[in-house]
Structure formats: C-alpha cells, structure tokens
Amino acid sequence: MHVAVVTPLDARSTGVADYALDLLPHLAHAAGSEVMVFSQDMDRLQSEQCGWTCLSATELPRIAPELDLIIYQMGNSPAHDFMAPFLHEYPGLVVLHDLSLHDFYARQAIQASRPAVYMRAFGFGYGTQGTRLARCYLRQPMPIGYPEYLLSEWLATRSPGVIVHSHHAAVVLGERCPAARMWVVPMPIPLPGKIASAEARAQLGLSTDVYVIVVFGVLNLSKNPGAVLDALSRLCAARVPAQIVFIGMESSSFRLMPEVEKRGLQANVIQLGFVNDPATVHSWLSAADVAVALRSLYWGETSASALRILASGIPLIVNDTGAFAELPNSACVKLAPGLPDTGEALYLVLESLYRELDRRWAMGIAARDYINQKHDPAQVAICYIRVAEAILNTS
C-alpha cells in the first residue's frame, strides 16, 4: 500500500511533529512499503538520515496520483497552515489532533485572504448563524477566536476518513457530524527506557528526599498553573520538601515566574521552558515522583503530554474531563473539573501521594502497562493501515 503522510515535523511549533516521528517508522512497516512524508519543515538531506522519503509539500500534486492514500496530520496551529491547499484538493484520511480548527480557518481568511473558506467552514456546522458569526469575527478579529465551535465538521464530512484519538472526541465530533466516517485510534506513544530515579536525580543534581512534581507541556492558563502553585504553597507550609518542575514553553497569555515570586516559591520551582533534548526530558520524568496535567478549558483534544508522562511510569493527576476521563484510574487521580478550590484539592492528593510511596509505585507500573497495551506505536500503525484498508475497501 502506497501511503503518504502530510505532517509538520518541527517539534518546536507543534507536538504533532513528535507524534509523526514516533509513528512513521512503524507505519512504513505496517504498510509494507516506503512511506512518503510531505512537510515544509524538512529537506531531502535530513529525510535520508531519518530513513524515509520526505519531500516538500509543494510536490504533493505531482505525486498524489501515484499514492493509494494520503494521511493528513491535522491540527489548529500555524504549523498546519501549509496543508490548506491540499486538504480539499487531494482528499484523504484526516487525523484530527484538534476538533475546533477555528484558528486554522481564521488564518486562512485573514492571512491567506480566503474568507470564503472560513465562512463556509463556520456555516457548514452552524448554519446561517455560523456564517454571521464568521462575519462578526472577520469584521473585528480577536486574538482568541471561537475554539468552542467545531469547524472541523466541514473537513470531517468531506474526507473519506477521519481518525480521532479518544472516544470522547469521537462522541463530540459524532454528535455534530454524524455522517463522518470516523475511527478511534490511540496516540502512538513509545515506551521509554526506564532510568532509576536515584540515577536521574544524581544527573540532575536533585536530592533523593525531594518530592519532585512535574508539569509537562505548553504552559497556559487553561492548565491551571495557579492551582498547582497554590497546592505547592500548601505543601511547603506542611513541611513537605516539594519541588515542581515546569517543562514546556510558556504561552503568550501566561508568565509563570511572577506568580511564583508572588507566592515566595522561588526555591521550590524550576522552570525549564521548552526542552529540545528528549534525553533531558526523559531524565526529568524519571526523576519525578508525580505529575500534574490539569485543564480548565478543554475542547476535546487528547493530551500527548499526559500520555508521555504515563509512559515514563509516573502517577498522574488530571481533571476528570473529556479524554482525560478515559485514562485508567489505576494510574491517575482525577479531580472533578471546576472545583471552587482546585489548589486545595490538588494539595490533598499530592500530600497523600507523598506519604504513600507504595501507591505511587503501583500507579507508575499501571501507567506503563497501560501505555504499553494501548499506545504501542507498532499497534497504532497497524490500526492506521486497517483504517486505510477500510477506506480503500480492501479489507
């Protein structure tokens, strides 16, 4: 089967790049032939080093007739903008990493001067009211669009197939778009080799008796960092030797250190920012005792960060919402979303996990088992090929 994947490959601009890099080798194996990758982030020379054929996206029209199926790794960030001319012209299997796609279409309207595309996407899902809302937005664009509107409906309906990563996303999209041909395929998450916590801490210069809490992923207000810091404040007051490590880029809407200084927690917080080196991330995750991945605003996407944390065998604390609710209770503690004092609730969980070393250990093992069983990239690639076969009507 001749399969091509259109995807961003720059890990700095989107997490989808890591996703693609984890999947591609296995996809080639499952497809039984070479996989062609179309991107704007990698030239031929680099692609040869990576072991698959990578071409500039502009070459897709020339090669598309030779392909059995094109797989689009579709998201909402600017890293996906280069796909816009091809999505409707060369339909294929669309992997939706974001259900809204509002910003993607809004950029088409404003930056690529294609307002009709944006209005059609809005109108398709929300009728005449949607087109009016689109007009409102185009008259006065705001930094935040309307992420709560599912503009992916148009694309999902037009595409021969759609992959989402959670049952929650399937339900949300299915309610709006019952005609879409949709499959739920788990995210491919490779299981990293385990480094002993003591060894990792020695590398990082951390004491063995420190309670290391990791917050991993792009840092913005929807991740509720204020509650995390409040919980840390309470832990410090309770004489727990806690240390929080924030790994991930800060969004433009949030600055962490002023919040840390405000609470006087400078000695207990490490902010690493975006870490380009996977080995460093792995060391920090190996050194961690527990991880936190809260979400206050949530539009249905699956968190790769949360899954990578589980792959490292770390107990995870999440909000009991959307795709997070599908994570196993044996590996996660789930806080009800929208609690009046999330900081207090988080503190209670963190404090109990601090005391219960055996529970943490059991949760870590359950986390790795879960990822191994559900998110093995080789199995995910086979699922991809099964979906492709269903679209090609060969199964």
Binding site: C136, E148, T157, S159, P160, E261, S296
Partner: protein, 446 residues
C-alpha cells in the same frame, strides 16, 4: 523644615483612627509633624482628633476627595523632607517610622513601603509586583504565613499606599498623586511606576511592620472592588504605556482574560472599566488631571490613538457580550439580516426667526396633499423589504444545505477516486509491465 510629615487621610474611621494615631504619636519626634486630612466624615473622627491629639494638624475637607485627593491636600501643606502616608485603619508597630526613614535615606531610594499583616497574622503586603502585559498589581506574600520568606529589603515594582513614604524630591519631580483613580486603587502603583521611570528606586523594608484592618477597603471580589480595581488598572495602562504596547500586548491579553474568565460579574466589571477609560480618554490626555502621563497621550499619531480606542471599544463590547454558553453567544452576536424601518420625512427649517413657521406650513401642506400617498408607498416598501429579507435568509439557509450536500458528494467522489486508483494500480501490477497501457485504460473506463 520638619524631618517627616506623616499624613493620615480619615473618612468615617472613628473606630480605628485612635489606635492609628496612638501608634504614630508614640514614634514621632519633635522634628516630625502629623497631619490628619478628614474627607468630610460624618462620624466623630474630627472631634476625636481635636480632643485627643491637639498637636496634630487637622485639615477638614468639605467633601470626600478620595484617597489621592485627601492625601494631596495633606501633601500641599506638609513641611517634611520625607512624606509619609498611613491609612486610618493601619496600626504601625514599634520602630516602623525609623525603619521606613532609614530605607528612604539610602541613596537613590525615592519610595519605601513596609510589611503589613492581616489581623490573623498572615501577610497582606510585602512589596508589590506588576504582572505585565495586563498590569495586574499583586502583593508579595499575600495571605502567606510570615515564615522568613519576605525578610529582605529589596527593590519592588510598587508598595501599598496603606502605609508608605517618599522623599519630597520625588514629589517635586512627579507632582501630586493622580486623583483620576478616584475613589482608590492603583494611585500608588502609578506613582511608584512613574518614580521608577524617573530613576528612583522603590523599596520594600521588612523591618517596618504594621497591621492593616482594611476597614475602609472594598471587599475583595465584590462588584465595587472589581470595578474600582480594573478601572484603576486600565487607567494606569493607558497613562503609562505606549500605543504600540497597548495594541500589541495589553488588548490581546485583556481579551484572553475576558474570554477565560468564568465569572460573569467580573466580565461586567471589566466592561465597565473599559467604558470608564473610554469616557475619560480626554482626561488622560490632560497633563494636569493625569499628572505626567507618558502613554497614549504623548507624541502619538491620531491614527494610532484611534486604533487603540477602537480596540478598547471592541474589548468593551466583547466583555459585555462574551457569554459563557455557545447558544447565548450565537444570539448576541449573530443577529439575522435586518432592514431599517422606513420613516416619513420630518420637515425642518433652519431659517432664523420664521423657521418654525416655515416648518409648520410645510408639514401642513405635506399632510394635506401628499401624506396619504407617501404612507401607502412606505407601507408597500416595508413589505417588499421584509420579503427580500426573508428570501435572503432562505437562500442563505439553502446555500448552507447545499454545501452540506456538496460535502457528502465530494466525499463520495473522493472515495471512488481513491478506490479506482488503488484498483488500477493493483491490476497493473498483476498484469505485468508489458500490458501496462492497456490495463490502465481499461480500468479507467470502468
């Protein structure tokens, strides 16, 4: 000249004023002066100050001038080298004044603030920080136990106006406090910010401590508090930040804040703050009323200012209408196509003196000769407009439906094309390279 002038602005603070002044009087020396500025209290504050503290200079305002207004009255009459302000509901601890004056005496230091506690012993203020780009003023150590984390003298963004002091030279350079922040919030942030810009250092000294009872303060989280806080904040930004910064950083951050705020009353208060700033925009460009404004008012092109005003107007509407639910959002913003109602012409004359008579005659003649016909035409036109509006809406709905049908068709075509290509290639590979051309044409025909 006195060494220090300690000014207490009082307003209906009889219950706290005695304790406040007792603590101050225990620390001042012969070279200091104490001034009480009363903002037209209706309780026994003035009588109390008169009776118990004859050495205090009492200034009575005939109306409530707010915190900045009251303090400015005191500053105008103050003689000291160091100008100190203490709220009526603050009880300073022993050694407060000496510690504050010591901090102020350091070279380069223009403003100094202290460590204030709540009555429960937790920290209320240990210096302040301004979070940009929204200029959210925040206290260090807020509601934290006093466990040694805030025990260093250091530079901060601002200090609370509840108990602070500054050099006379700072006032001579910056002028008085901006009374545009009435009734309160952000005037001290503004003053500290401007002092920093002028090259002065703003410091927090942990050795000067006191208790702040916050009797006159608005309750945190209340609508009045939120309105005053945000109004002060937005005024502060528009006074002190450049147009480009407001446009590129402040307005987008505000919009995110409004969007992400789940508290509807706070959004309404934000809307009121934006509206208030819009209404006081001319005041912000007035150097006297908004002392030392450096931001939007100064040296900016009208076009840029216009853009920022338009941005703020948009933000006001957004904060007012941004609803928590999708359906409400739809109802508010996506109004259906509407035609303006048709009206009869209203006759008017601008001719001096006889104008009203001319107007009456015209109206009379119109009513006599043409009105019945015009009304019938207006009625017909209104019906036509309504039908056109209904047709347009129907066509719009049909277009959306057709788009849906088109999407299904597009998908079906795409699926068929993909399968056809796949089958063609499989047949080709099975038939072998010799019959490639034949196989391709056969498959395509099928």
């Amino acid at each position: 000249m006195a060494r220090a002038s300690i000014i207490v602005v009082s307003w209906n603070g009889e219950a706290y004023l005695g304790a406040c002044l007792d603590a101050i009087m225990a620390q001042v020396g012969a070279v200091d002066e104490v001034i009480v500025v009363d903002n037209a209290s209706t309780d026994a504050s003035v009588a109390l100050a008169h009776a118990r503290y004859p050495q205090v200079r009492l200034v009575e305002n005939n109306r409530n001038l707010g915190f900045a207004g009251g303090l400015n009255v005191g500053l105008r009459v103050a003689q000291g080298d160091f100008l100190i302000s203490v709220n009526q509901d603050v009880k300073i601890h022993q050694g407060w004044l000496e510690a504050l004056l010591e901090a102020l005496a350091a070279p380069g230091v223009g403003i100094a603030g202290c460590k204030l506690f709540y009555p429960d012993g937790t920290i209320q203020h240990a210096g302040g920080i301004i979070h940009w780009p929204q200029a959210l003023a925040d206290h260090y150590g807020y509601h934290q136990p006093d466990d040694g984390r805030w025990d260093k003298l250091r530079s901060v963004d601002y200090v609370t106006g509840a108990a602070w002091g500054f050099r006379r030279a700072v006032m001579e350079q910056l002028g008085l406090l901006d009374e545009g922040y009435w009734p309160g919030y952000y005037e001290e942030v503004d003053y500290c910010f401007r002092a920093c810009k002028a090259g002065w250092q703003v410091v927090y000294t942990p050795r000067a401590t006191g208790v702040h009872y916050e009797s006159a303060s608005l309750k945190h989280g209340s609508a009045a508090y939120l309105e005053a806080f945000h109004r002060g904040r937005v005024r502060f930004v528009f006074k002190n930040c450049g147009v480009n910064q407001i446009k590129a950083e402040f307005l987008p951050a505000e919009q995110r804040c409004v969007y992400e705020s789940s508290v509807v009353p706070e959004r309404r208060m934000l809307a009121r703050a934006y509206l208030s700033t819009l209404m006081t925009m001319p005041d912000l460009s007035d150097g006297e009323r908004a002392p030392a404004a450096q931001g939007i008012a100064v040296g900016q092109s009208q076009a840029l200012i216009g853009e920022v005003i338009a941005g703020l107007s948009g933000l006001y509407l957004f904060a007012l209408h941004a609803p928590p639910k999708r359906e409400e959002h739809m109802d508010d913003q996506a109004q259906p196509i509407q035609f303006p109602a048709l009206h009869e012409h209203d006759f008017y004359s601008s001719v001096p003196i006889v104008g009203p008579l001319v107007q009456l005659v015209r109206r009379f003649l119109y009513g006599l000769a043409a009105r019945w016909g015009v009304l019938a035409v207006i009625h017909q036109q209104t019906q036509i407009n309504q039908r056109i509006a209904a047709y347009l809406q129907e066509y719009e709905a049909r277009l959306v439906d057709q788009d849906r049908d088109l999407a299904y068709l597009a998908r079906t075509v795409a699926e068929l094309e993909i399968r056809q290509r796949y089958l063609a290639r499989r047949m080709l590979s099975q038939a072998g390279p010799a019959s490639q051309d034949d196989a391709t044409s056969t498959t395509v025909d099928k």
